[in-house]
Amino acid sequence: MTTPRVAGTLETLSRGVHAVPSLRQGIGFTLLLAMIGASGRVVVPVVIQQAIDHGLQRSIRGSAQTVDVALVVKMCLGAAIYLVIASIAQRTAVSRLGQRSESALFDLRVKLFQHIHQLSLEDHNDEQRGSLVARVTSDVETLSQFFSWGGLAFLLNGALMIIVAGVMLVYDWSLALLVILISAPLVYVLRRVQARLIAAYDGSRLANADLLGNTAELVTGAETLHAYSAGAIFGVRVKKSSKIRGDKQTKATLIGALLFPSGEIFGAIAVSAVVFVGLWRGSSSGLTAGALVGFIFLTYRFLEPIAELTEVLDQTQTAVSGMRRILGILSIPAGPPPAEFPIEIGDQPLDIKMNNVTFFYRPRDGEVRDENSAVLSRINCVIQFGTQVAVVGETGSGKTTLGRLLSRFSDPTSGMISIGGVPLNRIDNEALREMLVVVPQEPFLFSDTIAANLRFVLPQASDQILIDAFTNVDLQDWFETLPLGLDMLVGQRGSQLSAGERQLVALVRASLINPSILILDEATSSVDASTEVRLTRALDKLSRGRTTISIAHRLSTAARADRVLVLDSGLLVQDGSHDELVGAPGVYSEMYKSWESSHNTSD
């Protein structure tokens, strides 16, 4: 019935409920209240029918009518009292459902935050940022919309239909069966159309994510687009995806529009059948005019919820495809998987050991994984605790990737890395992060003050500690040039600072943790040489008794290190001290020669 590719509505919903178990809490009582509330809507027509039948004696036209006003009033009073109770029950049910679902959606959001933060960088890179954000914002919103309207409609109307069906059966079971039999195929029709509706809504949500992704590029790349006057061209692309979204949504609403009146038409057929059979049977079977009229209105009452349900079916489908996308994200495993049974490192010296480490990135579309596409191949090396190591190599040789593996942003495809004798994947994440920090080339700063960016790593730090941190790395001169000091706002991604200044803040931030192992991935590439020298000298002082791995963009850094690792196309080709390597023929001495000549300003 549904296309095999996508999970059906019910399956998605039940998986959704499974993912957010709090949704189920107290649902039984809410359902009961909803039943009582819905019964209020049936009570009134039934009482009215009874009142007219018994209180107002029907008579042959023209002759006198006997009216028992007292009976009518008594019955109506009873109905009014029941109505008050039912209204209170309904109110409570709606409010309970709403509060429960909002708190469940809150739980779901938190779960998503947590989960998305734990996804591997590769998964982050594969998903467009905009669509990841959409998962926790607009997709959860579709659920919220659903629970506050659609879910409620399902609850109340479902209850109503059951109650009305019961009353109808009591009234006249044969007519009741007739109505139910006629309405049954409607369920089939609805399910058929619904399958198409699901596909249409999935298409439109996909188009929506596309639109957001394209808009995100237009926004984040605004400077570049402006510099090359390409804004208009990219704007047209966004407009195109906006048009596609419009097309898909229009198509989905058209299917919805065709679906809606099917309830209407089935209703008309059911009522016609009741009229026809009722008239045909006449009073011989004990049917009265009043009873037939009453039954006709019960039939309308029975079908009315279907109209209301089709009214919210669009919304339901939007919510179901939103839920499906959320479940899709939740089903991506966290990467790298957290250590299940963490091992404490204890008093071991924090030596780093790499054993046959090989690494492949996830293949791009159309790429086959062969030996040559390994970004790192069979790296073997032991770094004693307290060593100053420089990693050098051409751009693209795999230096950053090595840093990512050491800091466990990814696990090696094969081989093993251990620190202090414990495999990386058995070290508790928090312990690892306190022990080892990487400072990247393009650091990320939050759009907040400098102080807030520093406190990101050390929430309780006092202002004095923060200021001292600048002094410790010999940056007090620069710090003093900031008019607002710690309270300076750095702007989006730190854009109010110069690129070099961003790197300085990131270094101060890392130095606050004082990790045992510090990895600097070209962390000072945009800093001028004079500041860099002062800074690294200060860092060296701080790093006595710490391992520092500097991925070096200036060979002067390598010259100062205890040990130099040379990478070439993912292979560790040379390993030794600067003095040993300069003398020996090989990649390093070539690099150093060209470096020396490049630092000679005379061309």
């Binding site: 109505l83 237009l218 529009a257 994440n429 109010q496």
Partner: protein, 580 residues
């Protein structure tokens, strides 16, 4: 209803909202309205038909006890026929309402996109990415959400009007009592909207904040991971999410009350009508049949009114979203700095220019420089000395404060210090939508020494991840360089764009540029002596002053600060030595 002015203000805002939304695609909306009117007329018609069937067919059948097949078939045929017409009305109403809704969403998105494209970088730098995305996404969807139920709501109003006439003509007193419930329900709606608006506004606002915060948090995922701050970030975001939740729960409380009242009022009215009707029947003013159909007509008509709640419930959300889009659209478009550049005979001339970010943060004053054609200028300075700001001003990315800039032609290419790559193909990143031949793309990649592109699975048609995440820093820089040179600019400005390249490659790239673009004036922020050595002239930035352009040797002799910076570049070992 005490605060009348605010109610009418709200009403005015609502009508303005609807009017503005409708003007985008009035035709589609009108067709949908026509469908809605057919639906309304048929709905009332079917209640009349039912009354006729009850009075003339059913009661007669049971009174006379004769079954007339022709009359029965007429009744059934009319019932089904009318419902078919009504169904068509519904299809037209819904499909065109949907079309109007999403075409309007498309128009709104296009308007937001136009603003995003027109606004220059200095505007973009002040905005939060997440918030701008909220405008184009959540806010657009919210704005148009009110449109779909609008035709339905109008048809309900038409139905009420017709029904009121019908009810009153059946029995004036009862009819007036029954119709009084319609305005009562609408009043209830208004009252509810007024109370609930505030919470919807809060929720929508918090949702915008949440979206921005989430965007930033995911964007900074490397930092979050690097410092093991996943849990802290989750907690921080959870606080914002809980504010969304709280506002929503308040709204739901109000709504549950409203929903219950919406059911309660017509039902109680119904009961009262029976009691009142009983008296009217006793006094002989009304027949039992008339009372019965009166009540049934009332029930049939009052229930669609419930659904009007769906329409009105979208109003506050739509209003909030639309208002925010409007304020984005109305924000003045900043001047494109380049549009203020004048035409001159020399390739690039600054005439007493002041450069900076705002009145309190002016980095350089009264700078006058002329860059002659085909010259190669290196810019050197300490971190934060204003090198990027200066070259961005030359390229018309950062506006200048005063003075004038003139260029011979507007053909300037600028490469940012941190290049931005789009999540499309390498070719698209180089061409940025302009038409360049394969040969030109290859040529540009060759100049930029980006030979690694050939090693990618589909060559320069390989799709690279968002922001070029699948590439190393130096690879990104070279693609950005190719993007600049393919345009054969008359002025090429490089903001330290070769920093991630090894010195060998860097020198090669600059030689390629010199030979491949012999006519271009090159201005490059330099962080390596090799590049400085290749330049014809040097500008040195130090503490708000610009020295030069002059030669390297001249600067070495005259400027102590320059000398010590150069020493740091050339003799790193010495520093190490004196630290020991």
């Amino acid at each position: 209803m005490h605060d009348h002015s605010s109610t009418s203000g709200r009403f005015r805002r609502a009508t303005t909202l609807i009017r503005s939304l409708v003007t985008y695609h009035p035709g589609l909306f009108a067709i949908s309205m026509a469908g809605a009117m057919v639906f309304a007329v048929c709905t009332v018609g079917s209640s009349w038909l039912l009354r006729w069937i009850i009075d003339e067919v059913i009661i007669r059948r049971f009174d006379t006890n004769t079954f007339s097949i022709s009359q029965t078939l007429t009744a059934v045929g009319l019932l089904i026929g009318l419902s078919l017409i009504r169904a068509c009305g519904v299809i037209v109403r819904r499909s065109f309402a949907g079309r109007a809704q999403w075409r309007t969403a498309q128009s709104l998105t296009d308007e937001v996109v136009d603003v995003l494209v027109k606004q220059p970088p200095q505007w973009h730098r002040r905005q939060s990415t997440g918030e701008l995305l909220t405008r184009a996404g959540v806010d657009v969807e919210a704005s148009v959400a009110v449109m779909a139920p609008l035709p339905y709501a109008s048809s309900v109003i038409l139905m009420m009007a017709i029904a009121a006439v019908g009810l009153i003509s059946t029995d004036t007193a009862l009819g007036l009592a029954a119709t009084a419930v319609f305005p009562a329900l609408i009043g209830l709606n208004v009252l509810y909207q007024r109370r609930v608006d505030k919470w919807f506004d809060i929720a929508q606002g918090e949702l915008g904040l949440l979206s921005a915060a989430v965007h930033e948090s995911f964007e900074g995922v490397t930092v979050v991971k690097a410092f093991g701050a996943e849990n802290r970030e989750t907690e921080r975001l959870a606080i914002i999410a809980s504010r969304v939740q709280n506002a929503r729960v308040e709204a739901i409380r109000l709504r549950s009350l409203f929903e219950a009242a919406l059911d309660f009022v017509p039902n109680v009215t119904n009961i009262c009508l029976v009691v009142g009707g009983a008296f009217r029947v006793r006094s002989g003013d009304l027949s039992v049949g008339e009372l019965a159909s009166f009540i049934y007509m009332f029930t049939l008509l009052v229930f669609p009114l419930r659904l009007i709640g769906y329409a009105l419930s979208e109003m506050p959300r739509s209003q909030a979203g639309f208002d925010r889009i409007q304020s984005l659209r109305r924000s003045p478009i900043f001047d494109d700095p380049r549009s203020l550049f004048t035409h001159g005979s020399s390739s690039l001339v600054l005439d007493s220019v002041s450069i900076g970010y705002d009145d309190t943060n002016i980095l350089f004053r009264n700078v006058s420089i002329s860059f002659s054609a085909r010259s190669f200028t290196a810019i050197v300075g300490y971190t934060g000395s204003g090198k990027s700001t200066f070259v961005e001003s030359l390229a018309g990315i950062t506006p200048i404060f005063s003075g004038s800039v003139s260029t011979k032609d507007q053909l300037t290419s600028f490469v940012f210090q941190e290049p931005f790559l789009f999540g499309t193909s390498v070719r698209d990143n180089v061409c940025l939508g302009s038409n360049f031949s394969d040969e030109e793309v290859e040529w540009a990649l060759r100049i930029a020494e980006a030979d690694f592109v050939q090693g990618l699975p589909q060559g320069f048609d390989t799709i690279i991840g968002e922001r070029g995440v699948g590439l190393s820093g130096g690879q990104r820089q070279r693609i950005a360089l190719a993007r600049a040179v393919i345009r054969r600019p008359s002025v090429l400005i490089l903001d330290d764009t070769t920093s991630a390249l090894d010195p060998n490659t860097e020198v090669k790239v600059l030689r390629n540029i010199k030979s491949g673009l012999p006519g271009s004036t090159v201005i490059a922020v330099a962080s390596r002596p090799s590049l400085i050595g290749m330049a014809d002239q040097i500008m040195f930035f130090d503490q708000g002053s610009i020295y030069g352009p002059t030669t390297h040797v001249e600067l070495l002799i005259q400027n102590v600060s320059y000398r010590s910076l150069m020493q740091a570049y050339e003799e790193p070992q010495e520093f190490e030595d004196d630290s020991l």
